[in-house]
Amino acid sequence: METASKMEMTTNVSLSPAKKIDWVEMLFHGLFFLSAMVGVVSVITIGWFVFYEGLPAFKEAGVLNIIFGKEWLPPALYGIASMIVASLASTMGAVLIGVPVAIMTAVFLAEIAPKWLANIVRPAVELLAGIPSVVYGFFGLIVIVPAIETLFNIPAGNTLLAGVIVLAIMILPTVITISETSIRALTPTYKEGALALGASHIYSIFNVLIPAAKSGIYTGVALGVARAIGETMAIIMVMGNAPAMPGSLLEPARSLTANIAMEMSYATGIHSSALYATGIVLLAFIVCLNAGLLYLNRKRGHA
């Protein structure tokens, strides 16, 4: 009886007419839009100021003289070719060492490690991500620099190689975490399908799981590269900072970031502008990196 009368009541309720303007809805849409604009406005502002400050140096010294010039002798010569080489070489070295280690760690965590072990390794890796770069610099100074001195029998271990090793460790957590997440996100049916065809676990990992997780791994690598190329403090502490073209991994070098950080406090005039110009080159690398990532992942999206 009771339920029957309730049902009758609900059928009698009519729908209210739509409000002309839903203020709450509008307020939140506005809030979301403003939040989204913070990032966009920041990136435009940063880009604009760096270009505004850096352009005079390009005008004064010439684009080619700055980008391809090998001598950095303010206030006469503003060539940053040696720093471009140092930044690219240290980053590429870090990627060559760090990325394989990171991907194998990610596979270990996602596929191979027993739960208890993964639960020890994963927090350790995440902790690595939180260590300030100045502490990485300390680590490089007391461990890696002396090790290079003894190993290669050279007077000063503050070299490109020391930078490469420190950066390789610094990019590990980013690449590991993102790669592991993207391997774990794969549908388990890929692995089942491969194993059901008689493939070994290792074969399935290298031929199905890693390729299927490729776009996530690319993203991790790109973020790692961005971190390596933008790293400043640790690099200043271990890489020697000589503004000359490094002839080998065992020579000191100065990265683009180190150049800006070390001279900004006292530079004036065109010298100051040349440091902004260094920043423009750095920005250009980051933009290329992101464009490359977009391209790679877009191609995959259609696959």
Binding site: T189, Y190, E192, L195, A196, A199, N207
Partner: protein, 249 residues
Amino acid sequence: MNKLEVNNLNLFYGENHALKNISLPIPAKQVTALIGPSGCGKSTLLRTLNRMNDLVAGVTINGDVLFEGENIYSDIDVKQLRMRVGMVFQKPNPFPMSIYDNVAFGLKAQGEKDQQVIADMVEESLRGAALWDEVKERLHSPALGLSGGQQQRLCIARAIAMQPEVILMDEPTSALDPIATHKIEELMDELRKKFTIVIVTHSMNQAKRISDKTAFFWMGELVEHADTATLFQHPVDSRTRGYVSGEFG
């Protein structure tokens, strides 16, 4: 001659007794259908036949599964077993690579290097799965671009490229529309000539249409198994009678 023979098999997921003392002969070159309500253990049993349950943590199994007289739960090479006992899954699961690479995958995993051998087998398998004519122009385009029914036939092609003796099918048409289902059933009529097929199905009509033998499962027990016609027309057990007549389940 029984291709596979399950003897007094018990399977536990932790404490949960999922398969209770199952004994079932699976004759060669016939289609054996496993039917029963959800959670009755039919898929679990299917996955013991190529040891896919090894992937699940906390599974304990006792009893025997004989493949040509040899117990697959003894110390055998699981990879070889899975090459000879292929599997098609409920949801089509082609790998995110080209159609060609999907079919070639098992051969390459096995170590086959001769590209001509692989190419021939890819064509033969796609023909065998009645997919060749639809994809021969685009063998190198992504498999994920195929329709659901085509993807499932691709998975069948991938399985038969290994030249297995047995094909296990876990509700292979439950994610497909009626037309695609019909195509797969037609295909199975061809496949039964060469392979021993064990199929799990929710659809009693499908079991009637395609199988020679049917086994009915109920809450982890094998209630009865018989020739398909006999089981559906003259079920012995009251639970079977209730299920096949649609009273419950």
